[in-house]
């Protein structure tokens, strides 16, 4: 019997190759990264034709998202033949994923001129010096910006300015927003003989509705709780008078009896079989369409999005989040950010002005409506033309603005949000108690704020 192995004293060519292969296989398995990182660049432009090309990074790769943005780019190009825009559609499951993927691409040298950034990522990118301040452009086009700001809900604008421009400079001009509301499937409600809830419904009403529509044996549930901050637990905190951070986003405010009460309520929905346990692979609209859940969280939503799931706007009704102590919702504002590294900053500014212009806002350009957002201008988001493209009750998206609380978007948003989402999921499945979850989230906020 002959033995051979790495520990053998015989050192032959075969042994050498074997050892090399062994080390190589181990290295290949253990090292996922390590490539040299290079600085950010900007996309190519100019050329003999004089056409400038700018690249806009956008979260999402689904067909509707691409179609709408590409149509917007084409319309923009018609109006501005010297500027061409190409979309860099990043495949991401949520904003945390998008920010992670995008920062990695930027570090790897991917040339990007502009990014569509929501509240969650504004400080993350601005504080790292990636975003070009817009103060000079804002000053140059003061009349335009003043008119834009006058056409925006003032409480939202105040919150946006406070949270998006960390050092007093203007890094972002608002373009779209979304508030959390709930959509229910009218057919599901009708088939289970449940009356439509009133707009001022309470947590108790909500639970009663869930009990009426749920049947665990048939795998039917009242509401799908999102594994998310904005649409997951923040609305429940807001409607109970709790919040994640203090007003200046410098300290945690999550550890409170109101938070624990909200968490206990949500855990109860899962434990009582009124809501399914959170799943990383569950698709809310799909479950809503099949009748497996009767209600889901929604932002702005349009026919083209619903059509992917075999639904129409007429199938759904939008209602505000149920209240406990007060009316509430969470809100995020989106913006087209100009990158510091862009060589075509003027072209980016032209695009920012284009998509925030009244006529383009009314036309629902870019990701508005289809990607869960409403145009930032009141004149557009409240317009009957736009409202009729969405399910009944879409007016609650802007009616909830005075009660809405901004989703946190601190400089370490990805780490903070990722950790809190996991804690939220663990609490909902009963792995940790609501009280422990609140404590854990507080330490996660303290660590990452």
């Amino acid at each position: 019997m002959a033995h051979d192995g790495v520990l053998s004293n015989r050192f032959t060519r075969r042994t050498l190759l074997k050892r090399t292969g062994l080390v190589g296989a181990s290295l290949a398995g253990a090292t996922g990264f390590g490539a040299t990182l290079v600085g950010c660049g900007s996309s190519n432009s100019g050329g003999s034709s004089g056409v400038k090309t700018i690249t806009l990074a956008i979260s999402g790769t689904n067909a509707v998202t691409k179609k709408n943005w590409n149509a917007t780019f084409a319309e923009f190009n018609k109006a501005n033949p010297k500027i061409k825009i190409q979309g860099l559609f990043v495949n991401a499951n949520g904003w945390v994923d998008f920010f992670s993927a995008l920062q990695t691409q930027l570090a790897g040298g991917t040339a990007v001129d502009a990014i569509y950034i929501p509240t969650e990522g504004m400080q993350l990118f601005a504080k790292r010096g990636l975003i070009n301040p817009l103060d000079d452009y804002v000053a140059k086009d003061k009349a335009y910006i003043d008119a834009l700001y006058q056409d925006i809900n003032q409480s939202m604008l105040k919150g946006f300015k406070a949270h998006s421009n960390p050092d007093g400079k203007t890094y972002y001009v608002p373009y779209a927003y979304n508030t959390t509301c709930i959509a229910y499937n009218k057919k599901t409600f009708a088939s289970r003989k449940v009356d439509p809830p009133p707009p001022d419904w309470t947590w108790d009403d909500f639970k009663t509705v869930c009990q009426s529509v749920s049947n665990k044996a048939k795998r039917q549930y009242g509401f799908l709780i999102s594994a998310d901050v904005w649409g997951g637990f923040e609305p429940w905190l807001t409607t109970n008078g709790a919040k994640l951070l203090n007003d200046s986003w410098t300290k945690s405010a999550i550890k409170s009896s109101e938070t624990v009460e909200a968490f206990t309520y949500c855990r109860g929905l899962v434990a009582d079989g009124l809501a399914p346990a959170p799943s990383t692979t569950a698709n809310g609209l799909q479950l809503l369409a099949s009748g497996s859940v009767a209600m889901v969280l929604v932002g702005a939503i349009a026919e083209s999005t619903l059509a992917q799931y075999g639904m129409h706007t007429s199938d759904l009704q939008i209602v505000p989040w149920p209240k406990k102590k007060q009316q509430g919702a969470s809100i995020g504002v989106g913006s087209i950010a100009m990158l510091q590294s862009s060589k075509e900053k003027d072209a980016v500014w032209t695009f920012i002005k284009y998509v925030t212009a009244p006529e383009q806002q009314k036309a629902g350009r870019g990701g508005t409506i289809t990607d869960g957002q409403l145009p930032i201008r009141d004149s557009a988001s409240k317009s009957p033309e736009l409202l009729k493209q969405m399910p009944d009750g879409a007016e609650y998206f802007w009616k909830m603005l005075p009660y809405a609380q901004f989703v946190p978007g601190t400089a370490n948003a990805t780490a903070m949000e990722g950790a809190m989402i996991q804690t939220w999921s663990d609490m909902l499945t009963g792995s940790i108690s609501p009280n422990a979850a609140a404590k854990q989230m507080e330490s996660q906020i303290k660590k990452n704020i």
Partner: protein, 317 residues
């Protein structure tokens, strides 16, 4: 190429008179073998060795992605030693790896023996293809598919177990069941490859050994223990090492199906590298975890090869 080889051969055959220097063509001919192996070593250097060296270097830095790196000495390593999450990730990874490697070995061997025992070639072809087919699927698709199947509230597995009178756990949200569930997903996709290794190994065992054992009156069990297992041991060692390394670097199932939860119960080492480097943007700390993962993996692979001298048989007829 052939001409060069011929010249080189002639040069070797020609007796040297005094201190005659070899010609240029002879010296060039000596380089030819290196040219043949250079692509492999070039790829190894560019894609494995240099990234590894970079990872080791970065592990001594505090480098926020897109920020300026600063040297921190051994701080990342000291932090890692005191990091309870890293310890949990290591424990999870080992549990997943050991369960996966053991299941691979046992199930693949059983399947291979079953297929080999089948006399129908059609059955053999079909089963071989059926078991290897999932390996061709994207890991993301497999994860989503199993996410649907294992979903406690909507999935068919829990539904039918309930119909049969069981009270199934929430496979992906249970601290106890999450790792075994992920092992099942991994096996479903990758068992086919180990199965093929085992089948080839079984087919290469000379029939004369079994005939001799039968003549000596060995039972089926004794033939399995004293002929099949020893003769299959080199293949088994290869299969164990490959599945061990593959399982140790697992990422897809945890990231898509459980996000490392519940309570980090399924967080893997590679996933923790990803989180640290690309979610928390701590490139230095992520690299440190990567280096430690490499060291652990290398040590255990060496141990496997070391132990193999006592159970792997390389004898051939």
């Amino acid at each position: 190429m052939t001409l060069s080889k011929t010249r080189a051969a002639r040069a070797r055959q020609t007796p040297l008179r005094g201190k005659v220097k070899p010609g240029l063509s002879t010296r060039l001919a000596g380089l030819v073998p290196y040219l043949f192996i250079s692509p492999a070593y070039l790829l190894f250097t560019v894609f494995i060795l240099l990234p590894l060296l970079a990872t080791v270097a970065i592990s001594f830095l505090n480098w926020p992605l897109l920020g300026t790196p600063h040297a921190t000495g051994l701080k990342n390593y000291v932090d890692l030693v005191h990091d309870s999450v890293a310890l949990k990730a290591l424990r999870n990874t080992f549990l997943f790896t050991i369960l996966t490697a053991a299941a691979h070995l046992i199930i693949a061997l059983a399947l291979a023996m079953g297929v080999r025992a089948s006399r129908s070639r059609i059955v053999q072809y079909f089963v071989r293809t059926a078991f290897v087919a999932p390996f061709l699927m994207s890991g993301g698709v497999v994860a989503l598919m199993w996410g649907g199947l294992m979903n406690h509230d909507f999935g068919p597995i829990a539904y039918y177990l309930e119909k049969l009178g069981f009270n199934p756990p929430d496979f992906l949200n249970s601290k106890v069941w999450v790792i075994p569930s992920l092992v099942v997903v991994d096996l479903w996709q990758t068992i086919g490859i180990t199965f093929i290794f085992m089948l080839v190994g079984l087919q290469s065992i000379p029939a004369v050994l079994y005939e001799a054992a039968r003549v000596d009156g060995a039972s089926a069990w004794n033939r399995f223990v004293h002929v099949t297992l020893p003769m299959l041991s080199p293949t088994a060692l290869f299969a164990i090492v490959i599945s061990f390394i593959g399982a140790f670097q697992t990422f897809t199932w945890m990231e898509i199906l459980t996000n490392g939860g519940p309570g980090n119960s399924s967080l893997s080492m590679v996933q923790y590298v990803y989180r640290s480097a690309f979610q928390n943007f701590q490139l230095g700390y992520g690299s440190t975890i990567g280096v430690m993962t490499l060291v652990v993996l290398l040590l255990f692979t060496l141990v496997q090869f070391g132990i193999s001298r006592w159970w792997v048989h390389y004898e051939r007829m």
